[in-house]
Subunit: 239 residues, 2 copies
């Protein structure tokens, strides 16, 4: 069977792992792209490798880029990751925002897609991230897609239009989890935590852990991930 | 004096060196950004360091990114760089095109600009490159600028609009050279060649050398760069 080639941004977290399961289900030949970008831990990269292998992607590439050189984020500098923060406070952009990260990630995906002759780039942005990060919003994705078409050979020579695929963009975290469970995703392999403890144990307290735990609760499911403090609970949600 | 901060993409070639001289003349506090991206030689990076130092930029950062992992270009793979090619043949995109390179470079510049609080990004694209490379065209730059605004804090929180500054975009190579000579640029320090020979001698035969040599000829000036084969001449131009 001739499969449609795609490039997929895989962080090893819950969203991008669900995205991978979905793209594979839809029949894409997936080339997965991850980044060692100066994040403070390698746990999510280890997760991305396990998941890429499980889904038998065509290739899994890990690019090294040092966003620590710029700083400006709790994920790439010594600024503390906020813990136990009310995750519904979306009035300001969180300090975990990494400036232009998705722009950079999508730009590399674009380069690879052009070399591979792929017209589809998958990225697991969704409406929950959207609430805080500028580069998870639909209007950003639309603008990137327009720019990407003009940036490449197809914009001059004609040919396939590049599409940025964001099937999770309008879904809540619990809807993503339900979709993933239907697709058979093993969420025990995924790593969402911004600040895991030794042994790749999720902290249960950073924004990413809280959103994830609340998502599982709302989905009526149990998170199989291993947490540092036993059965973790989402802040501010009665159980 | 409070200066306006800018990020400037500096390759060490003729165009970006002229661009730097112009931005400094206009009073910008320049943060120069160069890339070790897997190009086959370090001569242009060495040139960028010399030039950045001469113009006393605020900072000069060299980012390491490995575009060889993707391949797809004579500049980042073992595909030969074309020599003695008629440089007016603009019917196809040259094999020296590096997929999505300017998109990637501008994305890093965007990240740095956001961290620095700079609203101006300078890139030395011009109409000659435009003839061959999709990501040197004005419509690409416009689309990138729109995307960039949506990608960053300013797109959510308001504040300064990011501008991609391309003062050379409508100039011919000879006009750029005349501008640079007026600004006092020492073109002997710059390196344009795609395939320099040992000792950082320009080959005089690749597209970049030919366009440069023709530009100097049309500007009525002598190129002070050192060429491998003595006084080099642009192909197809009577002297």
């Amino acid at each position: 069977m001739h499969q449609t080639k795609a490039v997929l941004l895989l962080s090893g977290g819950l969203d991008s792992s669900t995205l991978l399961a979905l793209a594979v289900k839809e029949g894409y030949a997936v080339n997965a792209l991850s980044f060692r970008y100066g994040q403070r831990h390698d746990a999510e990269l280890a997760a991305s490798q396990t998941i890429a292998k499980q889904y038998e992607v065509v290739q899994h590439m890990i690019m090294n880029i040092d966003l620590r050189a710029f700083g400006g984020s709790a994920l790439t500098s010594s600024v503390p990751v906020p813990l136990d923060r009310p995750v519904d406070d979306n009035t300001t952009i969180p300090i975990t925002y990494v400036p232009a990260r998705n722009t950079i990630f999508l730009s590399f995906a674009l380069a690879w897609a052009e070399v591979l002759g792929a017209n589809d780039i998958f990225i697991g942005v969704n409406s929950l991230d959207y609430s805080g990060y500028p580069d998870c919003r639909p209007e950003f994705i639309d603008a990137f897609e327009k720019m990407a078409h003009l940036a490449t050979r197809a914009g001059v020579e004609g040919g396939g239009e590049l599409k940025i695929r964001t099937p999770l963009i309008d879904m809540t975290k619990s809807e993503i989890i339900r979709l993933g469970l239907d697709l058979g995703v093993d969420y025990g392999l995924t790593m969402s935590c911004y600040k895991p403890e030794p042994g790749s144990l999720a902290c249960g307290r950073c924004d990413a852990c809280q959103l994830r735990l609340r998502g599982f609760m709302e989905a009526g499911a149990t998170d199989p991930a291993r947490y540092a403090s036993g059965p973790a609970r989402a802040t501010g949600v009665s159980v």
